[in-house]
C-alpha cells in the first residue's frame, strides 16, 4: 500500500452551546437560527484526528468534503488548520432541504469526483440533525464496505482493516479490507488543537467549491426534491414543570427532600 488517500466528511453545524436560543417563528412555523455561530461538527474532529494519525503512520493525503452553503467555507477551514491538506465544498441551491439519503448522494458524488480514495472517515453523528445515517448511506451509495460507531481502528500495510464497533455493553470486532467508509465514535481519540503555524499554513491550502453540474448529478436526486422524507410541522418538546422552590438551611432543605421522597413512594 503506497500511502492512504483519505476523505473526511465534515459538516458545519450551529454551535451546540447555543441551541437554547433556537426559536420557532410562531407565524411561519419556521426555525429561526440566524446569528447562531457555526462550528465544525464536534464528532467530525474525531474523524479528522483519526485521518491525520493514519497519514502520519502510512503517509498519504487528507481531503475534507462537505456539503454546505458557501458561507460555511470559513468553518471548514478550521479543519485545514488542524492539518487536512485540501477542502472540497459541495454547494448548490439545488442541494437545499436534503434529507440524509439525498445528502449522501451528493457526498458520494464528491468522493467519486475526487478519484482514488482508500478510506472515507466521518463523524458518527452530527450535532444538529444527529441521525447517524450518513456514514452507512455514503458507503451504500459508493458500493463499498462501511462501519459506524467505531471506537478503535487499525489498518495494516496490506489494506486490511480491523475495527471495534461499539455495542450496548461492549463491542464487536470486525475485519474487512479497504476501500471502506468508517463513522468514528468520540471515544476513538482526542482531537488535536489547532496551532498558530497550522492556521498560517491553512491559508495556502487548496479549497474547491463544486456544484450540481460539476458533480454530474440529476437535480431530481438531490435536495428536497430528491429526499424520500419530507418535513412537516415543528414544535418544542414539553419539558417545563412547576418548579416549586424549597428554601431554608441545609437541614431544613434535606428534611423537605426526605418528605418528597416518602410521598413519591421511594422511601418508606
Amino acid at each position: 500500500m503506497k500511502g492512504l488517500n483519505i476523505s473526511v466528511l465534515v459538516k458545519p453545524v450551529p454551535d451546540p452551546g447555543c441551541y437554547e436560543s433556537i426559536q420557532i417563528d410562531p407565524q411561519t412555523g419556521i426555525l429561526v437560527r440566524e446569528g447562531l455561530p457555526n462550528i465544525l461538527n464536534p464528532a467530525d474532529k474525531h474523524a479528522l484526528e483519526a485521518a491525520l494519525q493514519l497519514v502520519e503512520q502510512h503517509s498519504g493525503r487528507v481531503v475534507m468534503v462537505s456539503m454546505a452553503p458557501p458561507n460555511a467555507l470559513e468553518t471548514v477551514k478550521e479543519g485545514l488548520a488542524m492539518g487536512a491538506d485540501e477542502a472540497w465544498l459541495l454547494s448548490d441551491r439545488a442541494f437545499a432541504g436534503a434529507d440524509t439519503l439525498a445528502t449522501s448522494r451528493v457526498l458520494a458524488a464528491g468522493i467519486k469526483k475526487l478519484g482514488l480514495c482508500d478510506l472515507v472517515l466521518a463523524g458518527s453523528e452530527s450535532a444538529d440533525g444527529g441521525t447517524a445515517h450518513v456514514p452507512s448511506q455514503v458507503g451504500e451509495i459508493l458500493g463499498i464496505s462501511h462501519l459506524t460507531n467505531v471506537t478503535w481502528l487499525n489498518i495494516d500495510t496490506d489494506a486490511n482493516v480491523r475495527a471495534r464497533m461499539k455495542m450496548e455493553n461492549g463491542y464487536i470486532e470486525v475485519e474487512g479490507a479497504l476501500p471502506m467508509v468508517i463513522g468514528v465514535s468520540r471515544g476513538m481519540n482526542v482531537p488535536r488543537y489547532t496551532s498558530l503555524p497550522g492556521i498560517l499554513a491553512a491559508q495556502d491550502k487548496p479549497v474547491k467549491v463544486l456544484g450540481l453540474n460539476n458533480l454530474g448529478l440529476d437535480p431530481g436526486s438531490v435536495g428536497l426534491a430528491g429526499s424520500p422524507t419530507q418535513p412537516g410541522k415543528l414544535s418544542r418538546p414539553e419539558l417545563k414543570r412547576q418548579g416549586e422552590r424549597l428554601e431554608g438551611e441545609p437541614a431544613e432543605l434535606a428534611k423537605r427532600i426526605v418528605a418528597i421522597m416518602r410521598s413519591s413512594g421511594v422511601l418508606s
Binding site: Y19, E20, I22, I24, L101, E125, A127, D128, G129, G130, T131, A132, H133, S136, Q137, E140, S145, H146, L147, N149, M165, M167, E168, N169, G170, Y171, I172, E173, V174, E175, G176, A177, G183, P228, T229, Q230, P231, G232, L234, S235, R236, P237, L239, K240, R241, G243, E244, R245, L246, P250, A251, L253, A254, R256, I257, V258, I260, S264, V266, L267
Partner: protein
C-alpha cells in the same frame, strides 16, 4: 375498505437474548396497529439457533414472526443482516419497518434504507399511523430543543428508528402467532459478505442498570471531583438506585462509564424519582429524563435552566445539602 397495513419490527438479539428495545418497539407497533384499525404486526428475527426466542415474540405482540436462523447470522454484521432483510422486504413489501436505535440498529437502518432507496427517520420520540397508512414520525433535532414531523410520502416502506427506553413493551401471555421459518441460504449469498464479525466482547457493567432504577441520583460538571462524586453513589445506594451523569461529568472520568450518561446521545430514563445535582439543564440532558416521576434539582445558581424543568428546586450548594440529606435518610431507615 383500506388495504391492510403491515408493520414490521426488526428484532435484535445478542447471544440469543432479545434486546429490550426490540420488545419496546414491538409494544409500540401493537399500539399503532390498534390506531390504524386494520394492521398486522410482524416481528423479524435474525440469528443462529434462536428458535426459542422467536417462540416468545407473539407474547410481546407479534401476529406473525419471520425467523431466519443461520450460523452466518450469529453475530450482527451490516452486510449479512442487510442482505437478508432487503430480500425479505422486497418480497413481502411491508408498509412500515421499525428498528431499535441500538448501536447496531443505528447502522442497520440507514444501510437498509439506502439499499431500498426509501426514507428513514432517526430516533423517533413518537409515531402515529393513520388509517390510510401514512406514518407520522416525530424526530428530535438540535439535541431535543425542537421536534419535527417527518413523512415518507412516496417510497415504501416507511422506516423509523427508536431509541431504547422511549416506549414500553406489552405482555400478552395468552397470545400465539404464526412462526414462519425462512431459509437462510436463499436470502444470503457468501459472495456478498465483505466484512467478518470475529467476536463479540460483552462488558456487563456492575450495579443496577440505570434504565431499571426507581431512583436516579445524577451529577454534572458542578460536582467538581471524583471525591465529591462518591456522595452521589452513597445516596443512590440507599435506594438501590443508580447514578446518572451528564456528558461533561462523563468526560471528566468521575462516573461509572458511558452507560450511565443520560440524554440525547445517552440513555432515556423514567425513574420514579430523579435527583440532579450540579447540572445546568441543557436540553441535551433533559430530553433523557422528561418522563421521570418527580424531578428534584440542586444547583447553586438560582437562574440555572434546570429549575424550569424540575418539580422541586433547591438553590444551594450540593456540598451543604447532600451530606445532610444522606444523614437524614440513613437515620430515617434505621
Amino acid at each position: 375498505m383500506e388495504k391492510k397495513q403491515v408493520i414490521w419490527v426488526i428484532i435484535e438479539q445478542v447471544q440469543g437474548k432479545t434486546a429490550a428495545v426490540s420488545l419496546e418497539v414491538l409494544g409500540k407497533a401493537c399500539q399503532l396497529a390498534a390506531e390504524a384499525a386494520n394492521a398486522q404486526v410482524v416481528a423479524v428475527a435474525l440469528g443462529s439457533a434462536i428458535g426459542p426466542l422467536a417462540q416468545q415474540l407473539p407474547k410481546h405482540g407479534a401476529d406473525k414472526v419471520f425467523l431466519v436462523d443461520d450460523p452466518r447470522l450469529e453475530l450482527y454484521q451490516n452486510d449479512t443482516y442487510s442482505s437478508v432483510l432487503r430480500r425479505l422486504i422486497e418480497r413481502e413489501r411491508p408498509d412500515v419497518v421499525l428498528i431499535g436505535a441500538s448501536a447496531s440498529g443505528e447502522e442497520l437502518a440507514p444501510t437498509l434504507a439506502a439499499q431500498l432507496g426509501t426514507g428513514l427517520a432517526a430516533h423517533c420520540t413518537n409515531l402515529r399511523l393513520a388509517a390510510d397508512g401514512t406514518l407520522t414520525m416525530l424526530v428530535p433535532a438540535f439535541g431535543g430543543q425542537v421536534i419535527g414531523e417527518i413523512f415518507c410520502p412516496v417510497q415504501r416502506p416507511q422506516m423509523a428508528t427508536i431509541k431504547p427506553g422511549v416506549f414500553s413493551p406489552v405482555g400478552l401471555a395468552e397470545r400465539t402467532g404464526e412462526i414462519v421459518q425462512e431459509d437462510g441460504a436463499s436470502l444470503l449469498y457468501d459472495a456478498e459478505i465483505r466484512l467478518r464479525a470475529t467476536r463479540l466482547v460483552v462488558e456487563e457493567p456492575p450495579g443496577m442498570p440505570i434504565e431499571q432504577a426507581d431512583v436516579i441520583v445524577a451529577g454534572g460538571w458542578g460536582i467538581g471531583s471524583r471525591e465529591n462524586w462518591r456522595l452521589l453513589e452513597e445516596l443512590a445506594k440507599e435506594f438501590n438506585g443508580a447514578v446518572g451523569c451528564t456528558r461533561p461529568a462523563l468526560d471528566q472520568g468521575w462516573t461509572g462509564g458511558e452507560h450511565t450518561m443520560i440524554g440525547s446521545s445517552g440513555k432515556t430514563v423514567r425513574p420514579k424519582l430523579y435527583l440532579g445535582a450540579g447540572i445546568s439543564g441543557a436540553a441535551h440532558h433533559m430530553v433523557g429524563i422528561k418522563d421521570s416521576g418527580v424531578i428534584i434539582s440542586v444547583n447553586r445558581d438560582k437562574t440555572a435552566p434546570i429549575f424550569q424543568f424540575s418539580d422541586y428546586c433547591v438553590a444551594a450548594d450540593f456540598r451543604d445539602v447532600l451530606p445532610e440529606l444522606l444523614a437524614q435518610i440513613r437515620r430515617a431507615k434505621h
